[in-house]
């Protein structure tokens, strides 16, 4: 009987320790897992570091939870592990923002139309410590992780303005940057 209880205690302790490990690993790595799945989804049909222009969200929009039907999005799955990535976007006259998300969902950059200070935003995403010649003197943003997502949001102010706004957001780009210094 004592041996049985001892055995039960050992197995229970083993199970508990593993369960605690699974619990904390799930909480810690769930954001990376979900962002990884989103990156996979975004790069299934187009290469990484390419801007995409999804349709205005409706009930069929299933790529990302809680899409806003008031906004037009442009989205790019970036990967700076092979080199910097250049992101450009025109800035419309209504509410607009450009944001960057790390591989663990952290929102490490957000610029809106009022902060943009012009009709166009251009920036370079790099891994921390990357040296750039950057002759155009573009803002350089160090990413928190090699992969992540760039997202622009453009407010649809009216149905009449929709075609012009849609055309403008389709000018946003995301592509490898090639001015890196040896």
């Amino acid at each position: 009987m004592i041996n049985f209880l001892k055995g039960l205690a050992v197995w229970s302790l083993f199970t508990l320790v593993v369960a605690i490990g699974v619990h904390f690993a799930t909480v810690r790595y769930l954001p990376d897992f979900v962002m990884g799945r989103l990156n996979d989804k975004l790069t299934r049909q187009v290469p990484v570091n390419t801007m995409q222009y999804p349709a205005r969200p409706d009930a069929s929009a299933r790529a990302v939870v809680k899409p806003s039907p008031d906004l037009l999005y442009a989205i790019c799955a970036y990967d700076v592990s092979a080199g910097p990535v250049r992101v450009t976007s025109p800035v419309p006259k209504s509410y607009w923002s450009l944001s960057a998300f790390a591989g663990n969902t952290d929102n490490f950059l957000a610029i809106n139309d009022a902060q943009a200070g012009g009709e166009k935003v251009e920036l370079i995403l790099v891994l921390p410590g990357t040296q750039l010649s950057n002759p155009e003197m573009l803002p350089v943003i160090e990413t928190q992780s090699p992969i992540g997502v760039i997202l622009t949001r453009s407010l649809i102010t009216s149905e009449e303005d929709f075609p012009a706004l849609d055309a403008l957001r389709r000018q946003a780009t995301c592509a490898p940057y090639t001015e890196e210094v040896e």
């Binding site: 904390f24 009930a59 809680k66 944001s99 929102n107």
Partner: protein
Amino acid sequence: MKFLMKIVLSLLVALMAGFISAYLMIEKNSAASAVRNGSWAINTNIGAQDTDPYVKAHVALHALLALNKSEAIYFVANEDQEGKPLQGGCTYKVTGQSIDARWWTITAYGSDDFLIPGGEGHFAVSVNELGNTKFSFPIAPSLKAGTTGLVTAEAAQFSLLLRTYNPSPSLLNDPASAALPVIQKESCDD
């Protein structure tokens, strides 16, 4: 053989317990760390780098690609004024006054966190339609075309998300005291 079976059984139980407890804690901890204001809950740590790992996991599941508070804050309502879950078969009246932000909008989502099928033209209402004054709009299983309001027929339960972009300092610093819309149940389908 018996030893191997014990290990397999133990690992199965541990995996189940680990996943289930993580899921429950992610849901519960996020609710517990949110600031309440009537039917609405807000967590201003969304998107922040130094936030609680449970909140971060909750964002991954329910608010992926949400902006941090420097740009926007989000209020979520899962219940009406009396604390009852929001149901797709019921009609509600939402009343409020303009919210202190550059732009704001209220969107209805099904329990899967996506826009509710059948709600075309009535997925969201914003300051564009409601204006910067006192407002009132319905949430109902169906609405006439052209009516300002939200349609929720095909959702058993739903939630509302109030997005506030570029919130004023007072809204950002004290969301618990903000005058937020009141969600009042009027009737339910039998």
